[in-house]
Symmetry: C2
């Protein structure tokens, strides 16, 4: 699929994730096609694709609606992520990490350490942390040699806390955020240690708690948003 088809999918996805298309908002083929300056055909395809990605919900006879995500859904997705990444860590420990993977994980851990060594953290640091965090998790999933894990995780792809591709933080309290992400990074050290030493159960337990540790923050941030406070989300493309 070449332009503008893939372009329409990406564009709409971006508009949903950025909040430009608000949750609950209705989308129909003809107005959307006009807005994006294409015919209905790629829009039709895009709608169905994004529906299958879980970003849109089909209405009967009236287009689609941007899916509202409830707090309970986010919590449930965090738990699912916990067991899936826990399984990935276990399987990574049961396999042998390649030399390249080991080296890259070590490098990523060092990157994180350098960020926290300063004693404080700013938004730029968090963007760096975000990339490091994402890559760290990715390598572990790759090291599991189990494609079904990535598949199963794909439905969480765009939810803060439930996915490493979306990192939420409170810009107004960077001290707390420093402590939170430092704690998460210590988990990274621990899980690497467990994997490296072939300790499958330990790796799984750490990784699972690594995800579950975000449950409380997810609730807190959800309440902040309900109170009209702005929570910043760094989103991977």
């Amino acid at each position: 699929m070449s332009k503008p088809g893939q372009h329409v999918i990406s564009r709409l996805r971006q508009m949903i994730l950025s909040g430009e298309l608000e949750s609950g908002q209705r989308l129909a083929e003809i107005p959307t096609a006009e807005q994006l300056g294409v015919s209905r055909t790629p829009v039709r395809i895009a709608f169905r694709t994004l529906e299958q990605e879980g970003l849109l919900t089909k209405l009967s006879g009236r287009g689609y609606r941007v899916r509202r995500v409830t707090q309970a859904e986010i919590s449930g997705s965090i738990e699912v992520r916990g067991v899936l990444e826990g399984l990935a860590a276990r399987q990574a420990a049961e396999n042998t990490l390649s030399k390249a993977q080991t080296n890259e994980l070590r490098e990523l851990l060092k990157q994180g350490d350098d960020l926290f060594a300063k004693g404080n953290i700013n938004e730029q640091d968090l963007a760096i942390y975000h990339d490091m965090n994402q890559r760290f998790h990715q390598i572990i999933i790759e090291a599991s040699l189990n494609p079904a894990i990535a598949e199963a995780l794909s439905r969480n792809e765009h939810l803060p806390f439930a996915s490493v591709s979306a990192l939420a933080f409170d810009r107004n309290n960077l001290t707390q955020e420093y402590r939170r992400f430092n704690f998460a990074h210590m988990h990274h050290h621990a899980v690497f240690d467990a994997i490296h030493n072939g300790q499958g159960s330990r790796a799984e337990a750490i990784m699972r708690e690594h995800a579950n540790a975000t449950l409380g923050y997810a609730k807190t941030f959800s309440q902040k948003e309900e109170n009209g406070e702005k929570v910043h989300v760094i989103q991977s493309k």
Copy 2:
């Protein structure tokens, strides 16, 4: 989506799952549209939908191919199912089963018991077991009150052993199959007991092993198929 659009998706899905469209086979829009007696439009939509379901793989410039499923993929998927259904059982234990759910699970357990009380099992029994099994698992997932679990499980929907919607058995050795499914059904009893008594960790461990217990059978059956022996699969629609 009304006919023939939904019809095309279902029809193609059925043709893939039944083996009528063999794994590795190439599909293109125009011949498929002719074969099904529709225009290309619903076929195009169907292809993309089934691609997202994981049943087709897109080729560049030459249509789609029915995806081959490797033994490693099945094994990996069984493990994923284990952790997801384990989580579901844990969360069901942490919630309180409704009276209706409790009664229905009891009824399903009794149905299974009646099947095995005969001391042997035939294909008709297995079809009944299949329905009972599927519903049993479904109720537990519902009782978890976590929609993300069903979402994450959806990618396994069509793989024998990795999903309760596809049940594989060896018609030529029904004694062994009797023992195997009886064992599985004892797991059902145990996990119900754990859930009913609010024992989350126990429920999770049982359910996880319930899935993992199929790993060996998946390998055995895969080898039988490679040897040209026919394995029968009961598939839900």
